[in-house]
Symmetry: C2
Subunit: 221 residues, 2 copies
Amino acid sequence: MANSTTEQEAGAIRRRNERAILQAAEGAFACHGYRGASLQDIARRAGLPKSNVLYYMGSKRRLYVRLLERMMSRWNAILDNISPDDDPVEVISAFIRAKIRLSRSHPEGSRLFASEILGGAPFLQEYLQGDLRDWVESRAVVLRQWAERGLIDPVNPVWLIFLIWSSTQHYADFETQVLGITGRQSLDDDDLEDITQFLIQVVVKGCGIRRPAAGATPPDS
Amino acid sequence: MANSTTEQEAGAIRRRNERAILQAAEGAFACHGYRGASLQDIARRAGLPKSNVLYYMGSKRRLYVRLLERMMSRWNAILDNISPDDDPVEVISAFIRAKIRLSRSHPEGSRLFASEILGGAPFLQEYLQGDLRDWVESRAVVLRQWAERGLIDPVNPVWLIFLIWSSTQHYADFETQVLGITGRQSLDDDDLEDITQFLIQVVVKGCGIRRPAAGATPPDS
DNA sequence: TTAATTCTTGACCATTCGGTCAGTTTTATC
DNA sequence: GATAAAACTGACCGAATGGTCAAGAATTAA
């Protein structure tokens, strides 16, 4: 294969091919699920022979797990810490915004995750019942403290978190439905900003989320 | 095969076997998607030889389409008509409630639908851009009229419909995630009622949905 | 009882699946 | 240019895929 740039740092070929394979596989797994996706199809999308895919990834399972881990690390990156002293409106708004951004920047990874959950999460059970559960519980504690201080209605924190997850995830997972119904070819940045504002408004107003009284407990900004 | 009840109306065997196959196939397709599910697995779930599945259903594709159509008819059943004169709070509440009930009564059909959309809706494109789009548009008209009369904040009706769809669908599609994170084995009726109340409250309050002034335009009940 | 219809199923088919491997080519190092 | 390491890939394997078919079993209709 003709390679125009002969001089490049070591491992460049590996990096480039792995990137191509991972991207191709993400699309295939997102579209057809773990079982439904085939290495042949992934190889074709990546423009490589099937043997080459296995040379780099070892096996279909390893490739799939690697993609899941990549997606979960993206997910973890937006699960930032919050403190009871933070401004609830800011925290919730930032969370919704980050989640929408993730759905937009990595729609296929998002669908890959959804497909994994739909199939009963055979590879992510541990994560769901471990790290992610702990994260949800820690946020629930903060939300309850906000409720005690009258900064939010006494809603079930877990249902609220699920509401935000589902309503934002929707725009990646059900993109086909959204486009089909709205008659668009794609959603542009303005649409996404509009959706983000709408979700923030409904959640903040719907849960009675308020900013803390000025000077009471400064949100450290 | 021993058949205890010899005397029964014609077609009883067919009905019973088709039921078993459809149920088995719904679970398999929901779990693994169209490509990922295998007739062998479906036959095993139904307790029949593979040949028998093909005898009744013709082909994998026909079986899949039949399941999709069955699910869409359930879906259509809750897309009832509304009039601008109806009480917005009642309409939205009833819609959320019906949608939650559908997710609960037919979780695997719900996941089957989700899997179809995730895969790009190869079999449902027409439905999405046709009947469903028309339905959404007709509801959007009513919602805008409500907004003009001050019965709801001027939110984008389509985003509101998507919000209700996604947040309710979540409890079927992401059941594994919900159970893993809450540490439950299953969600009981009380949980679902709690979730329903939460979603109704957030949406109604969040969108500023109000009941029409008494006697103004009676909701015909 | 007989004849027709429906139902059942194992054997079989071409194709594709994930995966192995040996052998070749390309690249990096000296 | 020589050597070693990395990259590449066609051929191949056993298993599983969706689907066909013919022949037999069970049920129904006459």
